[in-house]
Amino acid sequence: MEVTIRALKSVDLVEVAGRVDSVSAPRLDQALKDLMQNGRYKIALDLKGVEYMSSSGLRAIVSCLREVHKPIFGGNLVIVQPSERVRDVLEISGLDSVLNVYDDQVGAIGSF
């Protein structure tokens, strides 16, 4: 799994690629925590390159979402162009109802 972070003006674009499972998800979790520890609470998570994601990856996303949504931070985390497999997992897990999903980076970044 690879995680690439691009800091934009007020939003961070986090691009993830590869397999996100119980072995690799802790690295995604840590990357998101590092952003928040640096005061960055507006996150666009691009999952176009993710070929597989288990609940371990979803846990990292939900954990971050809960944190950025705290009123004191006033942030958000949105999902960008999830791969077909990721869309499937989001739907099966029911997370599609609590996450904002965008089809492209421009729309996602513009939502903040």
Partner: protein
């Protein structure tokens, strides 16, 4: 067409889960499972094995995880059976409730069970004297290719 079963015993750790997923997927593929069904089986096995590592053995690399796969045929119907056995703490995933809706109420730990339940056709748990047995099953939706 004859398909041998798939049996393996690995140390219960997260790295083993990847190997188990790969072995079960290969077996299911060889048996004729395709596309999304194959993906759902891999996902369910991943969740089930991760549960065993994290709750059965409390995340410690302290026991074995035994995997047995087979195909049961009844007329034209074929079903993939996956038996997962461990000797860890009692942990019955079938007893967990469905997730509630909304971020505040979401039980993050229940995501894996929700996925298993939706990905497979059935999920059965048995506790014997010193082991947990979880049986996952999924019907083949695509007929087997003729030889």
């Amino acid at each position: 067409m004859s398909i041998k079963g798939c049996n393996l015993t690995l140390s219960a750790c997260h790295e083993s889960v990847r190997s188990i997923c790969q072995a079960v997927s290969s077996f299911a593929n060889e048996a004729g499972m395709r596309g999304r069904d194959l993906f759902l089986v891999e996902l369910a096995v991943d969740e089930a094995c991760t549960n065993i590592v994290e709750y059965g053995y409390s995340g410690c690399d302290s026991g074995d995880l035994i995997v047995e796969c087979s195909v049961k045929s009844s007329g034209a119907d074929r079903t993939l059976l996956i038996k997962l056995t461990d000797h860890g703490n009692v942990h019955d995933p079938t007893k967990q409730n469905d997730l509630t809706e909304g971020l505040d109420d979401l039980r993050v730990g229940g995501l894996g069970v929700q996925i298993m339940r939706k990905a497979m056709d059935s999920m059965e748990y048995q506790r014997t004297e010193d082991s947990n047995l979880l049986i996952l099953s999924k019907r083949f939706t695509v007929p087997m290719d003729p030889e």
